[in-house]
Every structure is written in structure tokens, then in C-alpha cells.
């Protein structure tokens, strides 16, 4: 059974629908309008998922599920949000126990939104376990079964960010199905599809190695030692692509990709990083703007080639890239035209998103690949899983 990228789109739509049910439920419980800020379905190494949780103190609710599908979920409220929800649910001096019970019930209801969508889509019964309550720092808000284990193992997570319109409450919902469960979800209607899981995991792993080559290239050209901090492969609604970078300013290069896969690739340094990188590339007192631009373009060129060569070699073809377009703008403004072009032929974007940086965060570079759906399908159809896994 092949990997159907359409099934990833369906999975994303289910996650979106589940998140919207969750938002309606939260609105009903708190009487404050709640919106879905983000949903994504992401393949990534366990270490990236763990690192994606910002430092800070969280109040979490864990709900396991089993039966037709099995896996784990975690809700993470920052402390202020948890306190705000508790006050909305249990006004007055009702006591901590009732507030905690209220938060667990919110967790239960939000998770049910996701699980019910899958259960109804698959025609299976999925049993939720009673929720448990945790107070934890950073990634410890995840259940041990999610955060512990092989850090390089590719796992999939469904993530939604829900927030009240007054921004007093922000909650992240993570659903992490087991590997078998994912095969079931991807094979919906046709039974299990373990091949899809293997193929996507192998493709993600190969692309991660492309990011590692990009880090090596950046280190070699600038003399600044960089590494891959985060790697993610996500299916997201096309309209959500620009918001992945938000309104921070980025400097870098954007390329068109031609071949299998075709699409777009961006190498984007945050504004402060770009100054460090240019200083390293052009060791002059005050290089003129054209020289700065040229240096950034050249770095982007080399990084992009290193990144896409892994795909081309694995698929036995070529992936060529256009000359670089230099960009210096807000992140969402850079990604909007790319999303707009993709959106003419697809509703869900496949985002291969890596962060290359230095341990002290003086350099932070986003590598974002946006393959076109049809060519991505062709790439997966002919992807040599075993050869890719052998290279690991």
C-alpha cells in the first residue's frame, strides 16, 4: 500500500476539526470565545518534540487512549492560563481540588474532540482513560512514555494551539499516537498501512540529514559551529504556513525547486543572526549592502544544494533550484507568497522545517522546504525506504 499524501491531508483535516470542537467546548465551559491558532501533524525525532516545548512552568493533563487506536495525549497550560481557566470554571473560593478537577475535565473534553473525530472517521471505538494531572517544567509536561525513549526515533504528533480571544488562556494540545495507530490512521478505509509510516519516517530521516549537511556547510563557510536544533515534517493547512515564522524579521534567500520534488526552499536567518553571519562571511569594517546581500545569497545557494542533493541522490534524479531571491522582511510576509502559490493547487502544505543554530543562539537559521503536493507524491511513490534507512 502506497503513501497517499491525500491521507496526510485527511489526517490534518481531522486534527483541525478536532481542535475546532475543542475550541467550541472551551468557549462553552468558560463563556469566553476561544479560537484555534494552529494545528499541525508532525513527524519528528522524539528529541525535537521534546525541545519544541518552551521552558517554563506548566500545568498539564494527560489522557491515554486505547482500543481502536492507542496512544497518549498531553495538554499544557502555562501557569497563568491554568489559573485563568480555573477561575472561569470555578469562580470564588471553591478550593484547589475543585479547580484541579475542572482543569482535568477541560482536558478530557478537549482530547475527546480529537479522539472522536478519528473514531468516527475509522468506524472504531477508542476508549479514553481517566485523565491525570501534572505540574511540571518544560517538556516534563509530556507523559514519560512520550518524552522518554530513543531520542532519534521518528514519532508523529498532532498539535493544536487554542487561545481565548482575550489571550488570557492559551493551551497546547498534543496527541501522540503509537506507531501502529498511525498506520491505521494513514490506511483509513483500506486497513493498516505500516508502509506509509516507514516511508514517511525514512523520508523525514533523509531530509533531516539534509539539514545536518546544511549545518555543516554553514559552519564551514562562516567558521561558526552550528548544528541542527530542531527538525520537523508537518502537514498544515496552506493558510497556516505564513504564521509558522510569525512577525519576526528574517534575512535570507528563497529558491524555487524543480524536479522531484519541486516546490520552494527558504534559508532564513533571524535579523541578529544575519549580522553575525555576514560579519563572518565578509570580514570588513562596514561592508556595503550589495556585498552583504551577495554573501547571504551565496551561503543560501550552497546550503540549498547540500539540502536537496540528499533527495536527488536517494531518488536517482535531480532537484535543481532557481537563482536565489534575496529577502529581508517579516517571516509571515516572506512565506505568504509561497503559500499563495501552493494554495492554487493544494489545501494542505507539507512543511519540512529545520532550525540550524549555535548553542548560544547567536545564530539561528530556519530552513523551510515546501514541496508541491503532486511532486511530493511522486517522490514518496519512488522513495527507496531501505536504502534511505541504511544510510542512517
Amino acid at each position: 500500500m502506497r503513501v497517499d499524501v491525500g491521507s496526510l491531508a485527511t489526517v490534518n483535516a481531522l486534527a483541525r476539526s478536532g481542535a475546532e470542537r475543542g475550541a467550541r467546548a472551551l468557549t462553552s465551559l468558560t463563556n469566553v470565545e476561544t479560537r484555534v491558532d494552529l494545528t499541525d501533524v508532525t513527524f519528528q525525532p522524539r528529541s525535537s518534540l521534546v525541545e519544541s516545548v518552551a521552558d517554563g512552568e506548566y500545568v498539564g493533563v494527560h489522557v491515554g487512549f486505547e482500543g481502536g487506536l492507542s496512544g497518549r495525549t498531553a495538554l499544557a497550560f502555562d501557569r497563568e492560563s491554568a489559573s485563568a481557566v480555573a477561575k472561569l470554571l470555578v469562580p470564588g473560593e471553591a478550593g484547589d481540588d475543585l479547580a484541579q478537577s475542572g482543569l482535568m475535565e477541560v482536558g478530557n473534553i478537549l482530547v475527546s474532540g480529537f479522539i472522536d473525530e478519528w473514531a468516527n472517521h475509522l468506524g472504531r471505538s477508542i476508549n479514553l482513560r481517566p485523565p491525570s494531572f501534572v505540574e511540571a517544567s518544560g517538556a516534563r509536561v509530556f507523559p514519560p512514555a512520550v518524552r522518554e525513549g530513543d531520542p532519534d526515533e521518528q514519532i508523529v504528533s498532532f498539535h493544536a494551539d487554542l487561545a481565548t480571544v482575550d489571550e488570557a488562556v492559551d493551551v497546547d494540545v498534543y496527541v501522540v499516537p503509537g506507531r501502529e495507530a498511525l498506520g491505521t490512521i494513514l490506511g483509513a478505509g483500506d486497513g493498516e498501512n505500516p508502509l506509509a509510516v516507514r516511508t514517511l519516517s525514512a523520508f523525514a530521516a533523509l531530509t533531516q540529514r539534509g539539514a545536518e549537511r546544511a549545518a555543516e556547510t554553514t559552519s564551514a563557510m562562516t567558521g561558526i559551529e552550528t548544528d541542527v536544533d530542531v527538525f520537523r515534517f508537518s502537514a498544515v493547512p496552506v493558510e497556516d504556513v505564513p504564521s509558522r515564522l510569525g512577525d519576526d524579521r528574517y534575512v535570507g534567500t528563497v529558491f524555487g525547486l524543480e524536479g522531484t520534488p519541486s516546490g520552494y526552499f527558504a534559508v532564513l536567518f533571524d535579523a541578529a543572526s544575519s549580522d553575525h553571519v555576514v560579519e563572518a562571511l565578509v570580514p570588513l569594517e562596514d561592508p556595503d549592502p550589495e556585498l552583504r546581500e551577495s554573501a547571504v545569497k551565496e551561503l543560501g545557494n550552497v546550503v540549498t544544494s547540500g539540502f536537496v542533493d540528499g533527495w536527488a541522490n536517494a531518488l536517482g534524479g535531480t532537484v535543481e533550484h532557481t537563482p536565489p531571491d534575496y529577502v529581508d522582511d517579516f517571516g509571515d510576509a516572506i512565506l505568504s507568497p509561497l503559500a499563495g502559490r501552493l494554495g492554487q493547487s493544494q489545501e494542505v502544505a507539507f512543511v519540512l522545517d529545520s532550525i540550524v543554530g549555535t548553542p548560544d543562539e547567536s545564530v539561528n537559521c530556519e530552513l523551510i522546504a515546501l514541496p508541491e503536493a503532486d511532486s511530493f507524491q511522486r517522490a514518496l511513490d519512488s522513495f527507496p525506504i531501505d536504502a534511505a534507512l541504511d544510510q542512517q
Binding site: R21, A25, S28, L29, G68, L89, V90, A94, D97, L98, S101, G102, M104, E105, N108, I109, V111, S112, I115, D116, A119, N120, G123, R124, S125, I126, N127, L128, R129, P130
Partner: protein, 118 residues
């Protein structure tokens, strides 16, 4: 006034249901899991049980099955966050008379009770 047993592992939800029911009905007992729900049913013989599905020790569908097997006249409304068609069918097979999905509003709860008791 309908005599009602609330079975839910969440103290918050039990509290909320008590508030919703306070004016029109009598809450005769509460249970935190399916085992307690069966025991309290035998103890209080309520007119109606508001039963959560996901509970520790024993879930609400199992408890409903035992209650309705022992007392075919028992009235049970599943009152749960689970909105899966298969689980709704399982609840009906176990003898549930109605099904409302959390989060609920007071009118939905009262309407559901009225439709079962009427």
C-alpha cells in the same frame, strides 16, 4: 421531583451537575466510578442515573449494563465527553436511555431528563 444519582469521576462535573439540577430535581447520591455507581444505585434506587463513560476502576457502559440487567426499568442518561458513534451505540446496547455530550448547558440537561422520565 426526579431523584437522581450522579456518577462521574470529576468532582468539578459532579458539582456542576448538582448546581444544574438543584432547582428542579433531587440529587440522592454521587459515585466516582462504575463500581460505586452500581452500589449507590442499589442503595438509593434513584429514578435516573446521570452516568459518565470514562471513569476509573469500571467505566460507565459496564456499570450501565449491570444496572439495567438487574433493573430493566432503570433510567440512565450517558453524560460524557465521548462523542463517538460506536460508543454511543455501545451505551444504548448497555441500556442507556439518552446521551448528552459535555460540555453541556443547563437546558440540554433538563430537556434530556424530561424526555427520559416523561
Amino acid at each position: 421531583m426526579t431523584r437522581i444519582l450522579i456518577a462521574d469521576d470529576s468532582a468539578f462535573m459532579r458539582n456542576l451537575l448538582r448546581e444544574i439540577l438543584a432547582d428542579a430535581h433531587e440529587v440522592v447520591g454521587e459515585a466516582e466510578n462504575g463500581v460505586e455507581a452500581v452500589e449507590r444505585y442499589q442503595e438509593f434506587t434513584p429514578d435516573l442515573v446521570m452516568m459518565d463513560i470514562v471513569m476509573p476502576i469500571r467505566d460507565g457502559i459496564d456499570a450501565t449494563d449491570e444496572i439495567t440487567s438487574a433493573d430493566p426499568q432503570a433510567n440512565v442518561i450517558m453524560c460524557t465527553s465521548v462523542g463517538q458513534e460506536e460508543q454511543m451505540k455501545a451505551a444504548i446496547r448497555a441500556g442507556a436511555d439518552g446521551y448528552i455530550t459535555k460540555p453541556f448547558q443547563k437546558p440540554n440537561v433538563l430537556d434530556a431528563i424530561e424526555s427520559v422520565i416523561a
